[in-house]
């Protein structure tokens, strides 16, 4: 890990997060990809870097650590697949709404104003009302 790359990773994470907190799915997707890039930088810098780890090509003592590379490769491909799924979501949302905006959840709307226990309360008031003879 070098200062430069730490900065790069941090920068990618920062920008990515900023985009992540938007409402347009395509921006969110970009943000997520930036985040994964940042994570991948952290991965490959998580161990020694050097020559390509191909035996016979060069001195093994200067090899880059191959494991983080393998892990990063796996991560990249997985993210590719999932990104495609997300794009499909955006695409579908465009077909349905002509936008890729992430709308707020309908079910949560107006909860704060709603009077959930109305029935229970009203019923209970009946009981009290009729108990208080006189």
């Amino acid at each position: 890990m070098t200062l430069m790359l730490a900065t790069a990773a941090a920068g990618l994470f920062g920008v990515g997060t900023y985009l992540l907190l938007q409402r347009k799915l395509s921006r969110i997707i970009i943000g997520l990809s930036l985040l994964t890039h940042g994570a991948n930088i952290l991965l490959i810098t998580s161990s020694r870097r050097g020559d390509a780890p191909i035996i016979g090509a060069g001195g093994e003592e200067r090899f880059a650590d191959p494991l983080p590379q393998a892990l990063a490769l796996t991560a990249i491909v997985i993210n590719f697949g999932v990104a495609m799924l997300l794009l499909a979501l955006a695409y579908r949302s465009w077909i349905l709404t002509h936008d890729d905006e992430v709308q707020d959840d309908v079910g949560d709307r107006g909860i704060a104003k709603s009077d959930v226990v109305h029935d229970e309360v009203a019923d209970q008031q009946q009981v009290i009302a009729r108990e208080e003879t006189s």
Binding site: M1, L20, L25, I28, L32, L35, T36, G38, A39, N40, L42, L43, T45, S46, S47, L67, P68, L71, T74, A75, I78, G81, V82, L85, L86, L89, R92, S93, L96, T97, V102, Q103, D105, V106, G107, D108, I111, S114, V116, V117, D119, E120
Partner: protein, 496 residues
Amino acid sequence: MSWLVPLPIVLPLVGAAVSVLVGRSRSAQRVVGISVLATLVVVAVALLVEVDTNGTVVTEAGGWAGPMGITLVADRFAAILLVVAELTLFAVLVYAIGEPGAERNHVGFQSAYLVLAAGVAASFLTGDLFNLFVAFEMMLTASYVLLTLGGRHDQVRSGMTYVVISLIASTLFVTALAFVYSTTGTVNMADLAGRLEELPPGIRSALAVLLLVVFGIKAAIFPLFFWLPDSYPTAPSPITAVFAGLLTKVGVYAIVRTQLLLFPEETRPATLLLVLAACTMVVGVLGAIAQDDIRRILSFTIVSQIGYMIMGLGFFTVAAVAAVVFSIVHHIVVKTALFMIGGLVDHAAGSSRLSRIGGMVRTTPFLATLFLVSALSLAGIPPLSGFVSKFALIDAGFADRQYAVVATSIVVSLLTLFAMTRIWMGAFWSPPEEATVAPPPPNRSGGPVLMVVPTTVLVLCSLGVAAAAGPIYALSERAAEDLMDRHAYVAEVLGP
């Protein structure tokens, strides 16, 4: 017997491949799905018996011994959860086939479902932190597909929330892995257990908390759970059922596993866990009370129940962990059953909004009975399985002198009872509104046979858990002893 271990992962993968190839014939796909999962139930039981009698079974993928290769580890904890998971997956698949509707008919449904099964099993069995990440990805990607199959508007909306949040979790996971490898140079859990001990306390507890956050998102603990009640209710009811039952518990499993195995006693964020647990319980149950839709009520109670498990973990005693294991088992079964019942209610009454439906205790008495039993169990009414898990947690908590949080959990269980009675009164007791003309249910049992039967089976299973609570709890206790003894695990995997 070590050949049993990879089966729950590999078999569904092959099955998924086959069902992609036979995509032209739904019935062929169903045969594949059913037969694979049926086999896996047997495999899982066999594995549990094996593990419980002869101890942890370890196998190396590709024959590459850990820490270099990927090791699969089946200890009691994993084996128990595997059995419950496969059982639930099987029941829900039957239910899904029985459900009228388009989603299950999609060419992708069966394969995605099998991949989900593989992912869940892999998460339980893997002994390698990065492989756990990949397993999660399998499970999650499949869940994205299942959640959005059909592409209805609300599905797309909630799908966005669900996928994005899960991807944040995945990215955090990779980040955590990067830090872990950069500090320790390994991703094998057993190896990590040894190496993390030598880290300076600061970075070590930072890693512990980071992993807690990563899995906390999946397990839906406060304040990371907000996505759950928005996304689960929109999926087709079988999907919601399996998500509700399993996915969050996989998160809990990962939390328990990593916190107990990877990190030594002194780094454990006990206080943090207890605070989060209390908030999760309270906010979750309040949310449940505030809802009008059965599925949303149930979704919030998931959150609240997760709080119980986190609380148990936060005590970090054998008794408490045993209680956690038991309550995971109880909760998977009961919660899945409840969501299946919710689906049946929706199916019979034409809606799952309490303000619209009612009077079902007359129209579908059998359904009412199923719901009453499961709901009371969830609320921890004796002698049902929920009570055993609640009592175990309270007992362990008081023994650990954690009065405040335990008291909270007791109050929460009363509120849970209230939330359940709201469903009972709204859907089953109170007469329906004149406005809604509920379609007359097909039969008194309240739904298509293929939906009712697996639901009933699961409810019976939950009764079975209560009846056999003695042995099951004893098993959980043994599992908890294993979990609390990190070095035994390390020795099993890496050799002494």
